[in-house]
Symmetry: C2
Subunit: 284 residues, 2 copies
C-alpha cells in the first residue's frame, strides 16, 4: 500500500470523475491518477483523453493509492464503498454522489468508517461519460461534506483542503438535511425537465413543426432532460420521500396557475408571478 | 407623412424593442429611430443608451415614420394597434408580440389591415426595460410571420427582408397554429419556472440555508421565473386555452413520475427518462 496522498484513484471516470481528474492534474494535487472503469469503451476514452495515467483493476488501484474517489451512480456507490472500505488501511475514501443518507447509513458500523468522507460537489451538466468531462468544473461552486464528525480528522481535512484548492466553497451538513435540500435545488429540476420534455414530445407526435420555434427559454428549462437514466433513476429512488414531497408541492403550485387561467383570475395570476419573481434575490 | 422606410418608430423601447433598435442601427436599416415610450424613466434610459435618436408622442412619431414597430405587452398591443392603424396612410405597421390570434382577429376588418404584419421573433430573456436590451439579439433564431396573406405584399416583403437582414429565419404560419406552438415551446416553460420558483421559495420560509446549494441545473430551470408579470399575465390569458391544454398534459406527466416513486417502479421510471432523452434530437 502506498499512503502517499498524491497517488489518487478515481473509480468511475465519467462526467464528475473525469472533470475532477482534469482539475486534480491542473492544480498539481496528484503525481499519478489511476482510473477504475467498468465500461471498456469509457476506460479507453479516459486514457485517450489523458484524464487518468493508467487504468487498473480496483484491488490494485487501492493498493497503489493514498486517496480513492468514488464517482459512480448512487446505486452502485453503496456496494463499491463497502468493498473499498473492506480493503483500505489508512487510505482516504470519498464519494461525490448526489444522495447521502442511505450511503452514510450503509457504512455507519464499518470498522473503517472513519476513513470515508461523504461529499457532494454541487456541479454537473446533462452529459455523461469521459468525453463530457470539462475544464474549470466546480469553480466557485459549493461542495457539501456530510456528517463530517464521523470521518477521521486527517481524512476530513485532506478532502476539505482538496476542494478548496480546486476553487470550491465547503459547506458541512447532516446527510438528512443534504438530501432534503438536494431534492429542492437539484432533483426536482430534473423531474420537471424530464416531464416537460415528455409533454412536448407527446404533442410532437401529431405536429412535427413544433420544434422549429423552440427558443432559448425552452432549451433552458428542458436541457436537463438529456440526463442519463443510469444516474437519475437511483437518485430519485434513494431520495424518494423528499422528491415526492417537493413534487407534490410543485403540482399544487402548477394547479394554482391552472385555476387562475380557468377563472380568468388576472389578479391572482399577477400575484403568483410576483411571488415567483422573488427568486431574483437568489439567482443573481 | 414621411413614407421613407428608413425612418422607423419603435413603440415600447424595452427588451425586444431596444434590442431590435440596436440591430437596426448596426445593420444600417434606419437613418433615424424614433422611440415612443409611456414610462418616462424608460424614455430617459432609451435616449441615454442611444437606443433611439428621439422620443416623440405617438402621433408625431407616426407622421414622421415609414415603419412603426409595436413592442408592447400583448394586452396593450391590441389597443395601440387599432389606434395606429386609424392614423397610418401607407406606412408599414408590425408587432413583435408573443400571442397572435386575438390581435389578428381584432384588426381583421380594419380598412388598413393590409398595412399590418403580425410577427413573433422567437428570442427573449427574463429581463425587461431598455437596460435589458442586448447586442446580437435575434441572430440565427426563427421569426414567425402570421397570416401573411392578409398583409399587403410590400409590407410583408419589407418585414421579411428586415428580419433576414438581422439574421433571422422567417417562418410563415396561421395565427392559431402559432399560438398553439408558442404554448408548447415558450409559454409552458414560463409557467413551470414560475411554479418551480414558488415551490422552492415556499420551502425557504422554513429553511434559509436551502439556496446555498443551488446549482446551475436549478438556475437553468428557474431563471425564467424572473420574467415580468406585465408581460406574462396577458400572454397567459390571451393564450389560455392552449396554455391550459399543455399545462394539464404537463401535470399528467409529473403525476407519472410521482406514481413511479410511490410504487418504487424502477422500470417505468427508467422508461419515462429514456423517453425524455429523445429531446436530444431537438436540442443540439
Amino acid at each position: 500500500m502506498n499512503s502517499e496522498r498524491k497517488m489518487i484513484t478515481i473509480v468511475g471516470v465519467g462526467l464528475i470523475g473525469g472533470s475532477l481528474a482534469i482539475r486534480l492534474h491542473e492544480k498539481k494535487l496528484c503525481t499519478k491518477l489511476i482510473g477504475v472503469e467498468a465500461n471498456p469503451e469509457h476506460a479507453k476514452q479516459a486514457l485517450e483523453l489523458e484524464l487518468v495515467d493508467e487504468i487498473l483493476p480496483l484491488d490494485e488501484a487501492i493498493d497503489q493509492s493514498g486517496v480513492i474517489i468514488l464517482a459512480l451512480p448512487v446505486d452502485v456507490m453503496t456496494n463499491i464503498l463497502l468493498v473499498v472500505l473492506d480493503k483500505v488501511k489508512d487510505q482516504i475514501v470519498m464519494d461525490v454522489g448526489s444522495t447521502k443518507d442511505l450511503l452514510i447509513k450503509t457504512v455507519a458500523k464499518h470498522p473503517r468508517r472513519g476513513r470515508f468522507v461523504a461529499t457532494h460537489p454541487m456541479w454537473g451538466t446533462e452529459y455523461n461519460g469521459p468525453k463530457s468531462a470539462v475544464k474549470n468544473a466546480f469553480e466557485n461552486k459549493v461542495v457539501v461534506l456530510c456528517n463530517p464528525e464521523e470521518s477521521d480528522a486527517d481524512a476530513r481535512q485532506w478532502v476539505a483542503g482538496m476542494y478548496e484548492k480546486i476553487g470550491m466553497q465547503v459547506l458541512e451538513m447532516e446527510a438528512k438535511a443534504h438530501d432534503l435540500h438536494a431534492a429542492y435545488v437539484s432533483h426536482i429540476s430534473h423531474v420537471t425537465s424530464f416531464a416537460l420534455a415528455n409533454t412536448v414530445l407527446e404533442k410532437e407526435k401529431e405536429d412535427e413543426a413544433i420544434f422549429a420555434m423552440a427558443s432559448s427559454g425552452f432549451e433552458s428549462t428542458v436541457r436537463l432532460a438529456k440526463s442519463h437514466p443510469a444516474m437519475w433513476v437511483p437518485i430519485f429512488l434513494q431520495n424518494k420521500e423528499n422528491v415526492l414531497d417537493v413534487l407534490k408541492e410543485h403540482i399544487t403550485q402548477l394547479k394554482r396557475f391552472k385555476e387562475c387561467l380557468e377563472n380568468d383570475d388576472e389578479e391572482y395570476l399577477k400575484r403568483l408571478i410576483e411571488e415567483a419573481n422573488r427568486i431574483k434575490k437568489i439567482l443573481k
